[in-house]
């Protein structure tokens, strides 16, 4: 092993020669050769079929969902649907404009909170290696898994109870807190793709750290930052739980409107729900595709 390693063979290609590993390999060889080739091939074929069935089972819900949303939602869609405010039962010409505008406003507040803060924290993690940085990194990873409903409760306690009114700003705060850990990690990953050599070159030329960060790191990381933030935004647009306890009326956010109308027994309310779901799905799709296109075109450019 010593000679192999010193000859430059990478670690992944050097087999483990410990007693346990050798014993394991002996078991593998014995089991593999236990049955005839015909039997082994049949088992292989059967497992292939099972795996492909799994693929079918896995893809079916997605396809069914998209088909259902498009077919049922298309019936509700019209220019009026997008431009008019909701009207009570029986009054025609209603739409979801307040929900679209409200969702946009809430997401705007969330972006105003999360994007700059995400950059600052990622810069901190980039510039510094130590216990504080790794604990912040670890807590960002764990925070990204915190249920959004708990963040909603936090926003209620911090904002609504303090200022005594429900507001889109509180919802934006909740959404921003939700999006922040995702953006932080995406930003940091993007910054890490920039070569250390370039960073050192900048420093050696006498530039300040902030200058190097601005011109070298951020410029190199910009595609990754934009992609990551767009994806986090796509995620944030579709959240419901943080808005439940912070928004003044369910007509102010698309996701809340769907939540409300889904449980109504009346066909036109359900129709509105499907239409709103279609709008939401389209929006999320556009954001995701945009993010991936940015990544893809930039990948091509340097090739």
């Amino acid at each position: 092993m010593r000679t192999l390693r010193s000859a430059g063979v990478p670690d992944s290609a050097i087999p483990d020669m410990g007693v346990a590993a050798v014993a394991r390999r002996r078991v593998v060889v014995r089991d593999c050769a236990r049955h005839s080739i015909r039997r082994r091939r049949m088992t292989g074929r059967a497992m292939q079929v099972i795996c492909l069935i799994a693929v079918l089972i896995g893809v079916t819900p997605l396809v069914a969902l998209v088909i259902a949303t498009v077919s049922k939602g298309a019936g509700a869609l019209s220019i009026g649907f997008l431009l008019h405010a909701p009207t009570p039962e029986g009054v025609p010409g209603g739409g979801i404009s307040t929900a679209i505008v409200g969702s946009g406003e809430i997401v705007a507040y969330a972006v105003a909170l999360a994007v700059p803060l995400g950059l600052f924290i990622a810069l901190f993690l980039f510039e510094r290696a130590g216990a504080i940085a790794s604990s912040i990194r670890f807590s960002a990873d764990v925070m990204s898994g915190v249920p959004s409903i708990i963040i909603g409760i936090f926003a209620y306690a911090v904002y609504v109870e303090r200022f005594h009114h429900f507001s889109n700003v509180a919802a934006g705060f909740a959404l921003g807190v939700l999006m922040l850990p995702i953006m932080v990690r995406a930003n940091e990953e993007a910054m890490r793709t920039v070569s250390v050599d370039l960073w050192e070159a900048g420093i050696s030329l006498g530039a300040r750290r902030s200058r190097v960060a601005r011109s070298v790191v951020l410029r190199g990381a910009l595609p990754g930052v934009v992609t990551g933030n767009l994806l986090a935004l796509a995620r944030g647009v579709g959240e419901t739980a943080p808005l439940l306890f912070t928004v003044a009326s369910p007509t102010f956010a698309m996701t809340l409107l769907i939540f409300n109308d889904a449980t109504q027994p009346f066909p036109d309310a359900q129709q509105t729900a499907w239409g709103t779901a279609l709008v939401l799905l389209t929006l999320v799709l556009i954001l995701s595709v945009t993010a991936r296109t940015i990544a893809w075109t930039l990948n091509r450019k340097t090739r």
Binding site: P116, F163, H164, H165, A248, S249, T251, T263
Partner: protein, 356 residues
Amino acid sequence: MKRSRIAHVLFALAAVLIAPCWLSVANSAASPAATSAITLDGAGANSIAPFFEKVFYDYEQLHAKVTVNYSPAGSSVGIKDIQENTVDFGDSEIPMSASALAAAKGGTVLQVPVELGGVAISYNVPGAPNGLHLDGPTLAAIFDGAITNWDSPVIAKVSGVSNLPKLAIVPVHRADSSGPGWDLDQYLIATSLNWKLKIGTSKPSTSWPLPDLGEGEQLNTGVATFIKATPGAIGYVSFGYASKAGFTNAALENGSGAYVLPSSYTIGQAGAQATHLSATNFSIIDESGPSTYPLANFSWTLLYKKQANAAKSAALDKLFHYVVTTGQQQAKSLGYSPLPANVAQLAKTTLAELQS
């Protein structure tokens, strides 16, 4: 060098300026008097939502600068939000108790009766006629699980319909606290000794006393959706929703023994019996009369006596004056009943106590 320093400063300024804390400060500090547009936020009873939606919409058409938001999340949400002072007005089917009033953080709460509505007992039984006669004891037996099938002889005897299908009864109740639940609970307490014994108390409660029996759904909409989708289901739904959904409703036995179907007229007859209405004497359950529906109640809007500023108190005053006068014209078509004259007078008197 100098350019980048300016850029630094500008960048820092921008970062500080768009910090949301500034937004929230501006938001909460902006007094309504500074701008002429006013927004009123309300939350509360689910049962009155169709009425409020229509009346508020009409009011907004007449007063372009006013926006009224109502969140129909349930009476208890309305009470809680008023106690925490996070909304401008709340609404509850059952007025606040003394202890609830004491917990209100903004001072004295005014309770204004704004609407008269009813609770239908809706059922989904294929082949059953509308207006099945049911009385208190039978209904209690259905909801506490004593009767389990629609073709039970007890139901046949009371209703007079003997060809009901052999279908399991699925009683559905409100999983959240509700006014209709309180109404039905009180009705059953008043008419059925078995019910009183089963639940162990003679005080009605907004939380359904038997949560483990039958299905529980959230809000009128949840109950209505369940009834619509499940053959054999029976539950209590605000009449505004039941009439819109086209349900078959039971004709209930009232205080004088008559079996009455819910309608705007019969609910109005119940409301006419409220000669000495007040927030502590509010129940019109199981009243008597040839066409009085026994499950009716007033809906109470909750407002703080002392409002934050003059603009808000004037706006609330005007809005609810409209609701109890011109707005009542919408009641009949939506499944509610216009307020009797004495109740409208009580509402106006209470509204006059609004200060700023």
